[in-house]
Protein backbone atom coordinates (compact mmCIF):
# COMPACT_ATOMS: atom_id res chain seq x y z
CA UNK A 1 0.00 0.00 0.00
CA UNK A 2 1.22 3.43 -0.96
CA UNK A 3 -0.62 6.60 0.05
CA UNK A 4 0.38 9.93 -1.43
CA UNK A 5 -0.99 13.38 -0.65
CA UNK A 6 -1.18 15.28 -3.92
CA UNK A 7 -0.23 18.90 -3.26
CA UNK A 8 -2.30 20.75 -5.80
CA UNK A 9 -2.69 24.20 -4.34
CA UNK A 10 -6.17 24.84 -3.05
CA UNK A 11 -7.42 21.49 -4.31
CA UNK A 12 -5.35 18.74 -2.75
CA UNK A 13 -6.35 15.10 -2.99
CA UNK A 14 -4.90 11.70 -2.12
CA UNK A 15 -3.92 8.80 -4.33
CA UNK A 16 -3.96 5.36 -2.69
CA UNK A 17 -2.22 2.52 -4.53
CA UNK A 18 -3.23 -0.93 -3.38
CA UNK A 19 -1.60 -4.27 -4.05
CA UNK A 20 -3.79 -7.23 -4.90
CA UNK A 21 -6.12 -8.04 -2.01
CA UNK A 22 -5.31 -4.90 0.00
CA UNK A 23 -8.07 -2.72 1.41
CA UNK A 24 -8.55 0.94 2.22
CA UNK A 25 -11.33 2.88 3.92
CA UNK A 26 -12.67 6.36 3.28
CA UNK A 27 -15.49 8.65 4.13
CA UNK A 28 -18.38 7.57 1.89
CA UNK A 29 -18.45 9.69 -1.24
CA UNK A 30 -14.81 10.77 -1.09
CA UNK A 31 -13.79 8.48 -3.96
CA UNK A 32 -13.73 10.31 -7.28
CA UNK A 33 -11.48 8.10 -9.42
CA UNK A 34 -10.76 4.41 -9.11
CA UNK A 35 -9.36 1.46 -11.07
CA UNK A 36 -12.12 -0.73 -12.42
CA UNK A 37 -10.92 -3.81 -10.51
CA UNK A 38 -11.43 -2.12 -7.14
CA UNK A 39 -14.49 -3.39 -5.29
CA UNK A 40 -16.40 -0.74 -3.41
CA UNK A 41 -18.33 -1.72 -0.32
CA UNK A 42 -20.41 0.78 1.61
CA UNK A 43 -20.95 -0.18 5.23
CA UNK A 44 -21.57 1.18 8.65
CA UNK A 45 -18.16 -0.12 9.54
CA UNK A 46 -17.37 0.23 13.18
CA UNK A 47 -15.69 -1.40 16.10
CA UNK A 48 -17.03 -4.38 17.97
CA UNK A 49 -19.50 -2.32 19.96
CA UNK A 50 -20.55 -0.61 16.76
CA UNK A 51 -23.45 -1.31 14.48
CA UNK A 52 -26.05 1.31 13.81
CA UNK A 53 -25.48 3.28 16.99
CA UNK A 54 -21.87 3.81 16.15
CA UNK A 55 -22.98 5.03 12.75
CA UNK A 56 -25.26 7.56 14.38
CA UNK A 57 -22.46 8.72 16.61
CA UNK A 58 -20.29 9.12 13.57
CA UNK A 59 -22.99 11.28 12.02
CA UNK A 60 -23.01 13.43 15.12
CA UNK A 61 -19.29 13.73 14.70
CA UNK A 62 -19.92 15.67 11.50
CA UNK A 63 -18.99 12.79 9.28
CA UNK A 64 -21.18 11.08 6.76
CA UNK A 65 -22.95 8.10 8.22
CA UNK A 66 -21.12 5.59 6.11
CA UNK A 67 -17.64 4.55 5.28
CA UNK A 68 -16.59 3.02 1.98
CA UNK A 69 -14.21 0.09 1.84
CA UNK A 70 -12.10 -0.47 -1.28
CA UNK A 71 -10.56 -3.83 -2.13
CA UNK A 72 -8.13 -4.52 -4.97
CA UNK A 73 -9.62 -7.61 -6.58
CA UNK A 74 -9.07 -9.74 -9.66
CA UNK A 75 -5.55 -10.69 -8.66
CA UNK A 76 -4.28 -7.22 -9.53
CA UNK A 77 -3.40 -4.02 -7.77
CA UNK A 78 -5.24 -0.78 -8.33
CA UNK A 79 -5.63 2.82 -7.26
CA UNK A 80 -8.20 4.97 -5.49
CA UNK A 81 -8.35 8.78 -5.67
CA UNK A 82 -9.91 10.51 -2.65
CA UNK A 83 -10.93 14.16 -2.45
CA UNK A 84 -12.57 16.27 0.25
CA UNK A 85 -15.64 18.39 -0.46
CA UNK A 86 -14.15 21.75 0.42
CA UNK A 87 -11.14 23.56 -0.93
CA UNK A 88 -7.96 22.84 0.89
CA UNK A 89 -4.88 20.75 1.39
CA UNK A 90 -4.56 17.08 2.25
CA UNK A 91 -1.95 15.31 4.38
CA UNK A 92 -1.03 11.72 5.15
CA UNK A 93 -0.27 10.96 8.79
CA UNK A 94 1.71 7.79 9.42
CA UNK A 95 0.16 6.55 12.63
CA UNK A 96 2.13 4.14 14.74
CA UNK A 97 1.02 2.08 17.68
CA UNK A 98 2.82 4.31 20.19
CA UNK A 99 0.29 7.10 20.03
CA UNK A 100 -3.35 7.43 19.27
CA UNK A 101 -4.44 10.31 17.09
CA UNK A 102 -7.50 12.46 17.51
CA UNK A 103 -9.03 13.72 14.27
CA UNK A 104 -11.70 16.43 13.99
CA UNK A 105 -14.96 15.07 12.61
CA UNK A 106 -14.87 17.01 9.37
CA UNK A 107 -11.18 16.42 8.73
CA UNK A 108 -11.23 12.66 8.27
CA UNK A 109 -10.78 11.58 4.64
CA UNK A 110 -9.54 7.99 4.73
CA UNK A 111 -7.52 5.40 6.59
CA UNK A 112 -5.86 2.02 6.46
CA UNK A 113 -8.07 -0.86 7.65
CA UNK A 114 -5.39 -1.51 10.29
CA UNK A 115 -6.53 1.64 12.05
CA UNK A 116 -9.46 1.57 14.43
CA UNK A 117 -11.71 4.58 14.07
CA UNK A 118 -13.91 5.45 17.00
CA UNK A 119 -15.91 8.51 17.91
CA UNK A 120 -15.80 10.55 21.04
CA UNK A 121 -18.42 13.04 21.91
CA UNK A 122 -17.36 15.95 24.01
CA UNK A 123 -20.66 16.58 25.73
CA UNK A 124 -22.78 19.57 26.51
CA UNK A 125 -20.14 22.21 26.65
CA UNK A 126 -19.90 22.06 22.87
CA UNK A 127 -23.64 22.46 22.45
CA UNK A 128 -23.62 25.49 24.71
CA UNK A 129 -21.49 27.56 22.38
CA UNK A 130 -23.35 26.43 19.27
CA UNK A 131 -20.32 24.62 18.03
CA UNK A 132 -20.21 20.89 17.79
CA UNK A 133 -17.09 19.45 19.22
CA UNK A 134 -16.65 16.10 17.67
CA UNK A 135 -13.57 14.02 17.32
CA UNK A 136 -12.64 10.65 15.96
CA UNK A 137 -10.13 8.63 17.85
CA UNK A 138 -7.66 6.78 15.63
CA UNK A 139 -5.71 3.86 17.02
CA UNK A 140 -3.20 1.49 15.47
CA UNK A 141 -0.46 1.63 12.87
CA UNK A 142 -0.97 2.75 9.28
CA UNK A 143 -1.69 5.78 7.11
CA UNK A 144 -4.44 8.24 8.00
CA UNK A 145 -5.52 10.88 5.47
CA UNK A 146 -6.76 14.19 6.77
CA UNK A 147 -8.05 17.22 4.91
CA UNK A 148 -8.01 20.88 5.85
CA UNK A 149 -10.21 23.75 4.87
CA UNK A 150 -7.50 25.98 3.44
CA UNK A 151 -3.86 25.59 4.33
CA UNK A 152 -2.65 22.77 6.51
CA UNK A 153 0.00 23.58 9.09
CA UNK A 154 1.90 21.05 11.18
CA UNK A 155 2.96 22.24 14.61
CA UNK A 156 5.27 20.45 17.01
CA UNK A 157 3.85 21.42 20.33
CA UNK A 158 6.31 21.57 23.19
CA UNK A 159 4.84 23.25 26.20
CA UNK A 160 1.41 24.60 25.52
CA UNK A 161 -0.68 26.05 22.72
CA UNK A 162 -4.22 27.40 22.55
CA UNK A 163 -6.19 26.73 19.37
CA UNK A 164 -9.71 27.65 18.30
CA UNK A 165 -11.63 24.37 17.98
CA UNK A 166 -12.72 25.19 14.42
CA UNK A 167 -9.10 25.14 13.29
CA UNK A 168 -8.04 21.82 14.77
CA UNK A 169 -7.52 19.07 12.18
CA UNK A 170 -5.79 16.32 14.13
CA UNK A 171 -3.40 15.84 17.03
CA UNK A 172 -1.42 13.17 18.79
CA UNK A 173 -2.92 11.96 22.01
CA UNK A 174 0.40 12.36 23.72
CA UNK A 175 -0.85 15.93 24.03
CA UNK A 176 -3.21 16.50 26.90
CA UNK A 177 -5.91 19.01 26.21
CA UNK A 178 -8.73 20.82 27.88
CA UNK A 179 -11.68 22.63 26.43
CA UNK A 180 -11.92 26.23 27.43
CA UNK A 181 -13.72 29.40 26.59
CA UNK A 182 -11.98 31.95 24.42
CA UNK A 183 -13.28 35.06 26.15
CA UNK A 184 -13.00 36.19 29.74
CA UNK A 185 -16.13 34.45 30.90
CA UNK A 186 -18.56 31.90 29.50
CA UNK A 187 -21.17 34.61 28.88
CA UNK A 188 -18.67 36.88 27.21
CA UNK A 189 -17.41 34.02 25.12
CA UNK A 190 -20.95 33.15 24.07
CA UNK A 191 -21.85 36.74 23.20
CA UNK A 192 -18.79 37.39 21.09
CA UNK A 193 -19.19 34.00 19.33
CA UNK A 194 -15.54 33.43 19.96
CA UNK A 195 -16.55 29.90 20.77
CA UNK A 196 -14.34 27.32 22.34
CA UNK A 197 -10.67 26.78 22.37
CA UNK A 198 -8.57 23.74 22.99
CA UNK A 199 -5.63 24.18 25.30
CA UNK A 200 -2.87 21.72 24.54
CA UNK A 201 -0.14 20.71 26.95
CA UNK A 202 2.84 18.44 26.58
CA UNK A 203 4.68 17.14 23.52
CA UNK A 204 3.17 16.02 20.26
CA UNK A 205 2.24 16.85 16.71
CA UNK A 206 -0.77 18.95 15.85
CA UNK A 207 -2.30 19.81 12.46
CA UNK A 208 -4.18 23.08 12.01
CA UNK A 209 -6.30 24.45 9.19
CA UNK A 210 -6.15 28.10 8.14
CA UNK A 211 -9.94 28.45 7.87
CA UNK A 212 -12.87 27.41 9.98
CA UNK A 213 -15.46 25.46 7.91
CA UNK A 214 -18.29 26.42 10.27
CA UNK A 215 -17.57 30.10 9.83
CA UNK A 216 -17.61 29.69 6.07
CA UNK A 217 -20.90 27.79 6.19
CA UNK A 218 -22.43 30.47 8.35
CA UNK A 219 -21.36 33.18 5.95
CA UNK A 220 -22.79 31.46 2.85
CA UNK A 221 -25.79 29.49 4.15
CA UNK A 222 -27.97 32.44 5.22
CA UNK A 223 -27.57 33.98 1.75
CA UNK A 224 -29.42 31.05 0.22
CA UNK A 225 -33.19 30.64 0.23
CA UNK A 226 -34.43 28.90 3.39
CA UNK A 227 -34.75 25.14 3.27
CA UNK A 228 -37.99 23.43 4.18
CA UNK A 229 -36.42 21.09 6.71
Amino acid sequence: MQVEAMQRGAFGWALVKLNSGEKFISEAGAMFRVSSNIEIDVTTRSRSSGGLLSGVRRMIAGESFFLSTYTASGGRGGEVGLAPKLQGEVAVIDCDSRNRWVCAGGSYLGSSPDLDIDTQFQGLRGVFSGESLSFLSVEGAGPLIVNAFGKLTEVDVAGHLTVDTGHVVAFEESLTYSIDKAGGSWVQSFLTSEGLTLKFFGHGRLYLQSHNPDEFGKSVGPLLPPRSS
Binding site: F32, F66, G81, G217, P222, P225
Partner: protein
Amino acid sequence: MHYDIASRPSYSLLEVTLNTGEQIVAEAGAMTWMDSNVDVHTSARGGILSGLSRAALTKESFFQNTYTARGGPATIGLGPGQPGDICAYEMAGGELYLERGAYLASTTGIETSSDFQGLRGLFNEGLFILRLSGVGTVFFNAYGDIQEIDVNGSYVIDNGHAVAWEPSLEYRLTRAGRIRSFLFSDQIIMEFSGRGKLWVQSRNPRSMADWVHPFRRVQSKSGS
Protein backbone atom coordinates in the same frame (compact mmCIF):
# COMPACT_ATOMS: atom_id res chain seq x y z
CA MET B 1 -1.20 33.41 -30.96
CA HIS B 2 0.63 32.88 -27.72
CA TYR B 3 -0.94 31.83 -24.45
CA ASP B 4 -0.02 31.30 -20.84
CA ILE B 5 -2.06 29.72 -18.08
CA ALA B 6 -1.28 31.64 -14.90
CA SER B 7 -1.59 30.52 -11.26
CA ARG B 8 -2.41 26.87 -11.86
CA PRO B 9 -4.13 24.91 -10.51
CA SER B 10 -5.97 26.86 -7.81
CA TYR B 11 -6.96 30.08 -9.54
CA SER B 12 -6.03 29.57 -13.17
CA LEU B 13 -6.38 32.38 -15.66
CA LEU B 14 -5.79 32.07 -19.40
CA GLU B 15 -3.79 34.95 -20.86
CA VAL B 16 -3.84 35.07 -24.65
CA THR B 17 -1.72 37.30 -26.87
CA LEU B 18 -3.06 37.68 -30.40
CA ASN B 19 -1.16 39.00 -33.43
CA THR B 20 -2.97 41.50 -35.63
CA GLY B 21 -6.00 39.86 -37.21
CA GLU B 22 -5.88 36.73 -35.03
CA GLN B 23 -8.97 35.63 -33.15
CA ILE B 24 -10.02 33.57 -30.15
CA VAL B 25 -13.51 32.45 -29.24
CA ALA B 26 -14.58 32.28 -25.59
CA GLU B 27 -17.58 31.53 -23.46
CA ALA B 28 -19.58 34.69 -22.79
CA GLY B 29 -18.62 35.99 -19.36
CA ALA B 30 -15.11 34.55 -19.40
CA MET B 31 -13.39 37.82 -20.33
CA THR B 32 -11.60 39.17 -17.27
CA TRP B 33 -9.58 41.97 -18.84
CA MET B 34 -8.43 43.00 -22.30
CA ASP B 35 -6.42 45.78 -23.87
CA SER B 36 -7.70 48.41 -26.29
CA ASN B 37 -6.66 46.53 -29.41
CA VAL B 38 -9.27 43.85 -28.80
CA ASP B 39 -12.41 43.97 -30.87
CA VAL B 40 -15.34 41.99 -29.48
CA HIS B 41 -18.04 40.39 -31.53
CA THR B 42 -20.89 38.58 -29.80
CA SER B 43 -22.80 35.94 -31.67
CA ALA B 44 -24.67 32.73 -31.43
CA ARG B 45 -21.73 30.99 -32.95
CA GLY B 46 -22.54 28.45 -35.61
CA GLY B 47 -25.90 30.13 -36.13
CA ILE B 48 -28.99 30.63 -34.00
CA LEU B 49 -29.98 26.97 -34.06
CA SER B 50 -26.59 25.75 -32.96
CA GLY B 51 -26.48 28.40 -30.24
CA LEU B 52 -29.93 27.49 -29.02
CA SER B 53 -29.22 23.81 -28.83
CA ARG B 54 -25.92 24.45 -27.11
CA ALA B 55 -27.57 26.63 -24.51
CA ALA B 56 -30.66 24.52 -23.95
CA LEU B 57 -28.99 21.16 -24.05
CA THR B 58 -25.63 21.63 -22.45
CA LYS B 59 -26.29 24.75 -20.37
CA GLU B 60 -23.32 26.41 -21.95
CA SER B 61 -23.95 30.01 -22.86
CA PHE B 62 -26.09 30.74 -25.88
CA PHE B 63 -23.60 33.36 -26.89
CA GLN B 64 -19.96 33.13 -27.56
CA ASN B 65 -17.65 36.07 -27.95
CA THR B 66 -15.07 36.32 -30.67
CA TYR B 67 -12.10 38.50 -29.78
CA THR B 68 -10.03 39.91 -32.64
CA ALA B 69 -6.76 41.85 -32.51
CA ARG B 70 -7.19 45.08 -34.52
CA GLY B 71 -4.47 47.60 -35.32
CA GLY B 72 -1.74 45.67 -33.54
CA PRO B 73 -1.15 42.77 -31.15
CA ALA B 74 -3.67 42.41 -28.35
CA THR B 75 -3.81 40.62 -25.02
CA ILE B 76 -6.82 39.28 -23.19
CA GLY B 77 -7.35 37.47 -19.90
CA LEU B 78 -9.98 34.74 -19.76
CA GLY B 79 -11.10 33.39 -16.40
CA PRO B 80 -13.53 30.55 -15.71
CA GLY B 81 -16.44 30.91 -13.31
CA GLN B 82 -15.06 28.33 -10.90
CA PRO B 83 -11.71 28.38 -9.15
CA GLY B 84 -9.60 25.59 -10.54
CA ASP B 85 -7.37 24.35 -13.29
CA ILE B 86 -7.37 25.11 -17.03
CA CYS B 87 -6.09 22.67 -19.66
CA ALA B 88 -5.10 23.31 -23.25
CA TYR B 89 -5.82 20.53 -25.73
CA GLU B 90 -4.45 20.51 -29.28
CA MET B 91 -6.87 19.16 -31.87
CA ALA B 92 -5.79 17.91 -35.28
CA GLY B 93 -9.09 17.01 -36.88
CA GLY B 94 -10.34 14.64 -34.19
CA GLU B 95 -13.01 15.18 -31.57
CA LEU B 96 -13.22 15.85 -27.85
CA TYR B 97 -16.17 15.60 -25.48
CA LEU B 98 -16.67 18.10 -22.67
CA GLU B 99 -19.01 17.93 -19.70
CA ARG B 100 -21.28 20.90 -19.46
CA GLY B 101 -19.63 23.97 -17.99
CA ALA B 102 -16.13 22.82 -18.90
CA TYR B 103 -15.74 24.84 -22.09
CA LEU B 104 -13.68 28.01 -21.74
CA ALA B 105 -12.26 29.05 -25.11
CA SER B 106 -11.03 27.81 -28.46
CA THR B 107 -9.24 28.97 -31.59
CA THR B 108 -11.38 29.71 -34.63
CA GLY B 109 -10.80 26.38 -36.35
CA ILE B 110 -12.79 24.55 -33.65
CA GLU B 111 -16.49 23.77 -34.03
CA THR B 112 -18.73 23.23 -31.00
CA SER B 113 -21.98 21.30 -31.00
CA SER B 114 -24.12 19.44 -28.52
CA ASP B 115 -24.21 15.69 -28.54
CA PHE B 116 -27.04 13.48 -27.37
CA GLN B 117 -25.84 10.88 -24.89
CA GLY B 118 -28.89 8.66 -25.18
CA LEU B 119 -30.22 6.73 -22.27
CA ARG B 120 -26.87 6.80 -20.54
CA GLY B 121 -27.58 10.44 -19.89
CA LEU B 122 -30.70 9.70 -17.88
CA PHE B 123 -28.63 9.27 -14.77
CA ASN B 124 -26.21 11.94 -15.76
CA GLU B 125 -26.02 15.61 -14.96
CA GLY B 126 -27.40 16.37 -18.39
CA LEU B 127 -28.55 14.43 -21.40
CA PHE B 128 -26.18 16.32 -23.60
CA ILE B 129 -22.52 17.01 -23.64
CA LEU B 130 -20.45 19.38 -25.73
CA ARG B 131 -18.67 17.94 -28.76
CA LEU B 132 -15.69 19.77 -30.18
CA SER B 133 -14.14 19.08 -33.55
CA GLY B 134 -11.72 20.64 -36.00
CA VAL B 135 -8.14 21.84 -35.94
CA GLY B 136 -6.76 24.17 -33.30
CA THR B 137 -6.54 24.59 -29.53
CA VAL B 138 -9.33 24.04 -27.00
CA PHE B 139 -9.17 25.38 -23.44
CA PHE B 140 -11.31 23.71 -20.82
CA ASN B 141 -11.61 24.36 -17.11
CA ALA B 142 -12.76 22.56 -13.98
CA TYR B 143 -13.59 23.00 -10.33
CA GLY B 144 -10.39 21.90 -8.66
CA ASP B 145 -7.26 20.26 -9.95
CA ILE B 146 -7.47 18.58 -13.37
CA GLN B 147 -5.85 15.18 -13.77
CA GLU B 148 -5.20 13.51 -17.08
CA ILE B 149 -5.75 9.75 -17.01
CA ASP B 150 -4.51 7.48 -19.79
CA VAL B 151 -7.18 4.82 -19.98
CA ASN B 152 -6.13 1.50 -21.43
CA GLY B 153 -8.77 -1.05 -20.57
CA SER B 154 -11.18 0.52 -18.14
CA TYR B 155 -11.33 3.15 -15.40
CA VAL B 156 -14.08 4.38 -13.10
CA ILE B 157 -14.81 7.93 -11.98
CA ASP B 158 -17.52 9.57 -9.94
CA ASN B 159 -20.22 11.07 -12.13
CA GLY B 160 -19.68 14.60 -10.83
CA HIS B 161 -15.96 14.59 -11.54
CA ALA B 162 -15.85 14.08 -15.31
CA VAL B 163 -14.43 17.00 -17.27
CA ALA B 164 -13.47 15.78 -20.74
CA TRP B 165 -12.67 12.63 -22.65
CA GLU B 166 -11.61 11.49 -26.09
CA PRO B 167 -14.29 9.85 -28.25
CA SER B 168 -12.23 6.66 -28.50
CA LEU B 169 -13.48 5.98 -24.96
CA GLU B 170 -16.90 4.47 -24.33
CA TYR B 171 -18.64 4.93 -21.02
CA ARG B 172 -21.59 3.57 -19.11
CA LEU B 173 -23.26 4.83 -15.96
CA THR B 174 -23.66 2.47 -13.07
CA ARG B 175 -23.93 2.40 -9.31
CA ALA B 176 -20.91 1.93 -7.12
CA GLY B 177 -20.38 -1.19 -5.13
CA ARG B 178 -22.78 -3.28 -3.19
CA ILE B 179 -25.31 -1.34 -1.19
CA ARG B 180 -25.35 -2.70 2.32
CA SER B 181 -27.83 -0.22 3.69
CA PHE B 182 -31.13 1.14 2.49
CA LEU B 183 -30.24 4.46 4.10
CA PHE B 184 -27.39 5.21 1.82
CA SER B 185 -28.02 6.75 -1.57
CA ASP B 186 -25.14 5.35 -3.48
CA GLN B 187 -22.95 7.33 -5.78
CA ILE B 188 -23.32 7.06 -9.52
CA ILE B 189 -20.15 6.29 -11.36
CA MET B 190 -19.00 6.45 -14.96
CA GLU B 191 -17.14 3.41 -16.18
CA PHE B 192 -14.92 4.29 -19.12
CA SER B 193 -13.51 1.63 -21.41
CA GLY B 194 -11.28 1.55 -24.44
CA ARG B 195 -8.09 3.45 -25.05
CA GLY B 196 -7.83 7.20 -24.77
CA LYS B 197 -7.43 10.17 -22.49
CA LEU B 198 -9.79 11.20 -19.75
CA TRP B 199 -9.68 14.33 -17.60
CA VAL B 200 -11.16 14.51 -14.11
CA GLN B 201 -11.53 17.29 -11.55
CA SER B 202 -10.58 16.91 -7.88
CA ARG B 203 -13.68 18.73 -6.59
CA ASN B 204 -17.38 18.54 -7.36
CA PRO B 205 -19.65 21.63 -7.32
CA ARG B 206 -22.60 19.50 -6.19
CA SER B 207 -20.72 18.20 -3.15
CA MET B 208 -19.86 21.77 -2.28
CA ALA B 209 -23.54 22.76 -2.53
CA ASP B 210 -24.53 19.75 -0.42
CA TRP B 211 -21.99 20.79 2.17
CA VAL B 212 -23.43 24.30 2.43
CA HIS B 213 -27.04 23.08 2.52
CA PRO B 214 -27.27 22.46 6.32
CA PHE B 215 -26.19 26.07 6.91
CA ARG B 216 -29.28 27.42 5.16
CA ARG B 217 -31.92 28.85 7.42
CA VAL B 218 -34.95 26.63 8.01
CA GLN B 219 -38.17 28.03 6.61
CA SER B 220 -40.54 29.17 9.34
CA LYS B 221 -43.66 27.02 9.53
CA SER B 222 -45.70 29.50 11.58
CA GLY B 223 -46.75 31.53 8.56
CA SER B 224 -48.51 28.68 6.76
